[in-house]
Amino acid sequence: MYIKTDPSEATQIDPLEMPALCPGAMAASTPWVASPDHQTSCGFPGELVDNWKEKAIEKMGELLTKYRSLKVYLDSCVKCGACTDKCHYFLGTGDPKNMPVARQDLLRKVYRRHFTLAGKWFPSLVGAEDLTEEVLNDWYSYFHQCSQCRRCSVFCPYGIDTAEISMAGREILDHIGKGQKYCNEIIGKVHTIGNNLGLRPNALRSTLEGLEEDIEDDTGVPVKLPLDQKGADILLVTPSADFFAEPHIDGLIGYAKVFHAAGASWTISSYASEAANFGMFIGSYENMRQISLRIRQAALDLGVKRIIFGECGHAWRVAYSFLNTLAGPFDFLDPRYPVPQHICEYTWDLIEQGKLQFDKSKNDHIRLTFHDSCNVARATRMGDKPGGQFEIPRAILRTVCNHYFDMPADTIKEATFCCGGGGGLLTDELMDLRKKGASPRMKALQTVQQEHGVTHMAAICAICKTQFSKVMPDHGFERDSILSVHQLVSNAIILEAPQDDD
């Protein structure tokens, strides 16, 4: 446990505090169901099919054959209980079905009934159950109370990955016609327009031109944000929230300043104007592949040599872990660079080479901590050393900011808490769940607020940034206390003013 420097001054705050059990507390928490249009745009039946029970079992059988891991996870749980108090949604709601083991069991009990000998013959002895409407409703409710952050799997002695189980649950739901509106509407927009927002090329161009004006007004330096520039060296793929929301857009400005300072040739693509890949949230390989192929296509069309991803948590997981399988081979890119690279790797590399100059005092009004986004922390790496995904963002922050403090060790790095809005749950109708799920992270933040006077938190994920700007005001912070990592870079970077020709 975290040792407080002066217990007399600090209120006792324990981010890991075990809640009182409230069975059924969150049973009514369900996201809006996808409309027939949203469903069909992702290749799923428009509404709940008549023979949904048979179809669901059939799909489960298919997934068990396709993903060996799923079968191992469903078979290997010994009910040791190590995961029970590791989920932020359980800690925030006290609903026992949000204990990772119990959430897994919603699928496991049906698996046992249909796919194990003991479950077929002696269901009640082995916790096997039929798929009833009640079970189906539980699936819909509780598989949308898992943000697929995988904190529980860090503590599971067998490494059971609850995220994969909730992805399988959602995939089955999609295939019987009961998908979730938020994810499926967004995926449809990526397929047709190229990004989650539905931002068309003319709107994107206008937004980027506006940012160029703002940066020049602010710094006197003509920093460009090129769009669809053929022959550029670098394709930047970033979440479309970076073109729209705060503080995301300040991070985008930071990337542009870094590219400018490095003298790099780079471009954004209007065709692949989205880093996020919601296909992963719904466990759909096919949707994930189609979204990834847009990036490949854009890289080919623009003739770039490198692909760099902006600040987006699960995008980096898909990019780092799956991009080559989904959309490779990328043998047409420059083999001297990793495929793909993270913007933090790119910036840190330049810092190490001494190519960027900073005035750290520009961030002196900020006392900072860093929130490790779950997908970056537990499913990826950065750089060429283990733990680079933790150290590189922190190294950048320490380079640009004088006052940096980590939150308690059991709430960061591989033990980080989800922001409460990940995994396709960042939707308004789930606000109650989101607020409750954010509470462990908020408590951890309050400990460093009390002990070190921390005023701001930085993150490298679009979802985290939006979620925190929504929930932080409930915990005594301003809405703009959540920052993009490259926003801090942007504040401190020294850009060379252009030579005056006159």
């Binding site: 927002l197 068309r200 979440p239 705060e246 996020a276 960042l426 809405r479």
Partner: protein, 110 residues
């Protein structure tokens, strides 16, 4: 969900966003605003009207930064901060103001 306006049933989605954008009119906007507990003043209308103009051209709501910049040009420094927008539309200028303006909800990680 939907709105009763002028003896007609105006269709909306689960969250109250109009499903047919062409059905929007200023009176309906007042009705939506009432549901949102937003008391529409001239300042609110400045925002709503800008959103609609921007949408006409780009088929999407503007980034918050684009909105604040436009307001700054027109109304000055004071009426162009994020805080000012949140004071007008407490649930968030993008989502709540879009709903009142009869525009679709911005989707994604926003």
């Amino acid at each position: 969900m939907g709105y009763q306006w002028n003896g007609q049933e105006i269709a909306a989605d689960e969250e109250g966003y109009l499903t047919d954008l062409s059905q929007w009119n200023p009176e309906l906007a007042l009705l939506i605003a009432e549901d949102e507990k937003v008391n529409m003043t001239d300042d609110h209308w400045e925002v709503v009207n800008f959103l609609r103009e921007y949408y006409d051209e780009y088929q999407i709501a503007p980034a918050i930064r684009v909105l604040t910049k436009a307001l700054k040009k027109k109304l000055g420094e004071e009426k162009s901060t994020n805080k000012y927008l949140y004071d007008l539309f407490p649930y968030g200028p993008a989502k709540q103001a879009c709903k009142i303006a009869g525009l679709p909800k911005p989707t994604g990680c926003v």
